[in-house]
């Protein structure tokens, strides 16, 4: 198969320094991908340890204090080191300039800096692991977080540093999308993944600094006893919650919006059909970004905030579900009468539709104050956010990873094994987390090390599911690595898509495009343009 050595961005500059000092968004995307996947693995190990411990109400492998550390680390690593950067920094960095016909992002050096900051911040956070690992929960609520003997300050400094990485990515993407689109690509001719990244970047820029200052205040409170959160010193612990959730609620939309962008791409490509309601989907991304800043109080219904505030937050939370619902209906409408191909990215996409619908709807249950009084801090909440974060974002991330894998590597993964893995993951996920909805409605509190005997069968079933889920990811790792060495080489457009990144070689050339491409057609004009996938049975 090897006639001459193919020229692409890997071969044009080689060696470790060509990676560590690169300004190429494609290499930076891959550097991020390594970090993201390592963080996912680390967070996953913590998850499996948690589920293992929960097989029994008695001690299985860790003490109660160690258990508190486990769920804190699981949350902090998964949120700050994995999911927030995941799609934008790993997939977005690689794909965005190609999708809009640009040679790179607006600020390549800032891009590389954001990766180094990501690594540095991650090391800081992990350092707190090997000293006295934090046991406050990833939410760092006061007063416990100001009093505990564990390494709160290194962990929060790590999160603070990671925040800069997120902000720089956000600034880079906003300017890139405004300024570097190819001629002819107006806002409404951009792919919807770009809209998703844009809305995400807006939230990253506006919300992350508030987290920064919240963590800084926490550090000051711990180090200097500032008195801002401690009632004995004149402060207010609920103030911390307001500050914290003002960022952390929009943060969950940083997690889901890029995933939704990926789903829009994949639904259209694998239904071989024009996306239904392009403008509605585009505007709904912006609508979600805006409204996401108005609902933070729904994490605090039981905190003692005023009833009137709670009612307003509840109403606005119902409201923010509407744009998400619009997207789901538009995606389904796209599939209707489409020519659907069940390649692995599409399997994960359809999995997303099902799992995100459950996750999103259960969010509405929790937004209902009278219901939340019973479900707050139970496993129902845990199940809800795992359905949206894992069943939503992670499924979309995997879908996107598989979709762009041939573009990034020039190789195709095993169709058989990827489909088997999808089944394993889908089953494992639902076993793990659907059970937790039931546990929650039966009253099982979250973050509890021990529990009443009556909950043990459900906990056992959930843990068993989590081991299956873990096995699925392990198989994925194997067949993806295998594809790098033995995968079928692919051409420019294995899936038959109409977005611009598929006009380049797989992998792309060093500078992406020899000449600035001009837009010939819209990204979803399957009704006008003939395009055949080159990867077929």
């Amino acid at each position: 198969m090897k006639a001459e050595e193919a020229r692409n961005f890997y071969t044009e500059s080689r060696g470790l320094k060509s990676w560590l000092f690169t300004l190429d968004h494609k290499k930076i995307g891959i550097l991020y991908l390594y970090g993201i996947l390592t963080s996912f693995f680390l967070g996953g190990v913590f998850a499996l340890l948690i589920r293992w411990e929960l097989l029994s109400p008695d001690e299985v492998i860790v003490t109660a204090d160690q258990y508190n550390q486990l769920f804190t680390l699981h949350g902090a690593v998964m949120i700050f080191l994995f999911i927030i950067p995941s799609i934008p920094a790993a997939l977005g960095n690689f794909v965005l300039p190609l999708m809009i016909g640009a040679k790179d992002v607006a600020f390549p050096r800032l891009n590389l800096a954001s990766w180094y900051i990501y690594i540095f911040g991650s090391l800081f956070a992990i350092y707190s692991l090997v000293t006295a690992a934090v046991d406050t929960g990833w939410t760092f609520y006061t007063p416990y977080s100001t009093e505990t003997n564990t390494s709160v300050i290194p962990m929060t400094i790590g999160a603070f540093i990671l925040g800069f990485s997120s902000i720089f990515t956000g600034i880079n993407f906003i300017v890139t999308i405004h300024k570097l689109r190819a001629p002819g690509m107006t806002w409404f001719k951009m792919p919807l993944f770009v809209w998703g990244l844009y809305a995400t970047a807006i939230i990253q820029v506006l919300a992350t600094p508030v987290l920064g200052i919240t963590l800084a205040l926490l550090i000051m409170e711990r180090a200097f006893g500032m008195g801002i959160f401690d009632p004995a010193l004149g402060g207010d612990p609920v103030l911390f919650q307001h500050f914290f959730w003002f960022y952390s609620h929009p943060a969950v939309y940083i997690m889901i919006l890029p995933g939704m962008g990926i789903i829009s791409e994949l639904i259209s490509t694998f239904s071989h059909k024009k996306i239904f309601g392009y403008k509605a989907i585009a505007y709904s991304s912006l609508g979600i970004a805006f409204t996401s800043f108005l609902v933070w109080g729904h994490h605090m219904f039981t905190s003692g905030q005023s009833e009137y505030a709670a009612m307003v937050f509840s109403f606005l939370t119902f409201f923010v579900g509407i744009p998400s619902g619009i997207k789901v209906f538009n995606w389904i409408s796209t599939m209707y009468k489409g020519s659907i191909s069940f390649e692995t990215p599409m399997l994960y996409t359809m999995g997303f539709l099902f799992l995100f619908a459950i996750g999103g709807l259960t969010g509405i249950f929790l937004a209902t104050i009278s219901v939340d009084i019973h479900l707050h801090d139970t496993y129902f909440v845990v199940a809800h956010f795992h359905y949206v974060m894992m069943g939503g974002t992670v499924m979309a991330f995997i879908a996107g990873l598989h979709y762009w894998w041939p573009k990034m590597t020039g190789k195709m993964f095993s169709r058989l094994w990827s489909r088997i893995t999808f089944a394993v993951i889908f089953i494992g996920f639902n076993m793990t987390f659907f059970t937790q909805f039931i546990l929650g409605t039966k009253g099982m509190p979250r973050r509890y090390y021990s529990y009443l005997d009556q909950y043990q069968p459900l906990h056992g079933f959930s843990s068993f599911g989590s081991f299956i889920l873990g096995a699925g990811f392990f198989i994925m790792l194997i067949y993806l690595i295998h594809s790098l060495y033995r995968g079928t080489p692919v051409g420019n457009n294995p899936w038959g898509s109409l977005t611009m990144e598929w006009t380049t070689t797989s992998p792309p050339q060093l500078h992406n495009f020899d000449e600035t491409p001009k837009l010939e057609h819209g990204p979803y004009d399957y009704d006008k343009i003939e395009v055949e996938p080159t990867y077929t049975k």
Binding site: P209, F224, M226
Partner: protein, 219 residues
């Protein structure tokens, strides 16, 4: 990724390879800086919010506490910073007029004024440390009426401290601009880094203009 320094009419050395026109690069860089400034506003905004909340809860204490601040020094610092913003703006004006020497002088004046600001702050801080007017659990001063006067000083030190860190960061960027100006990197055709440095510096000045009345002039 081009590192060649060749300078042609169509492709000046400062034009980075992923931009097609100098104007596109210029607008993009300015836009990027404005976005960064927006994040700074949100960062300080959180602290201003904390100030608002605690002042609402402890109004008398705030008024009493602020008496311990030196309004004269605060006013001096305000004049110093505003003047430094003027000299920063002048630096850019002189570059637009291709006057490298006056640009350098203006940048040095900006730097000097920033240093004066920090020196004044040093005197203010050391006086407070001497008096025991310290944040949080280190607060030992007695003589302020009202509950929990340490909160006022916690906020004072945190907000002016964070602002001071931004002054230091700005100073290092200005030093870098001085080096680049001296090396003739800038001209009326290209001075974008100077311009965005100026934008940053003006924001740092603006934040002080909010801090000053809220801490020094209340009551």
């Amino acid at each position: 990724m081009s590192t060649t320094m060749k300078n042609t009419a169509e492709h000046p050395a400062y034009l980075q390879h992923h931009f097609s026109e100098p104007e596109q690069q210029h607008e993009s860089v300015k836009f990027g800086m404005w976005l960064f400034l927006l994040t700074e506003v949100l960062l300080f905004g959180g602290l201003f919010l904390a100030y608002a909340v605690f002042r609402a809860w402890n109004y008398e204490m705030f008024l009493n506490s602020h008496q311990l601040l030196d309004v004269k020094l605060g006013t001096l610092n305000t004049i110093v910073l505003i003047t430094s913003s003027v000299s920063m703006a002048l630096a850019i004006r002189f570059t637009q007029m291709n006057d490298r020497k006056k640009t350098l002088i203006s940048l040095f004046i900006t730097l000097a004024l920033a240093a004066i600001f920090l020196v004044v702050k040093y005197f203010e801080y050391s006086h407070k440390i001497h008096e025991g007017l310290l944040p949080g659990k280190f607060f030992t001063f007695s003589g302020i009426e009202g509950d929990n006067p340490h909160i006022f000083f916690s906020l004072y030190f945190m907000m002016t401290g964070l602002h001071g860190i931004h002054i230091v960061a700005g100073m290092s960027v200005i030093v870098y601009m001085i080096v680049r100006t001296w090396k003739s990197h800038f001209s009326s055709e290209y001075y974008t880094p100077l311009e965005v440095t100026g934008l940053y510096w003006h924001l740092v000045d603006l934040i002080w203009i909010f801090l000053f009345p809220l801490f020094y002039l209340i009551g």
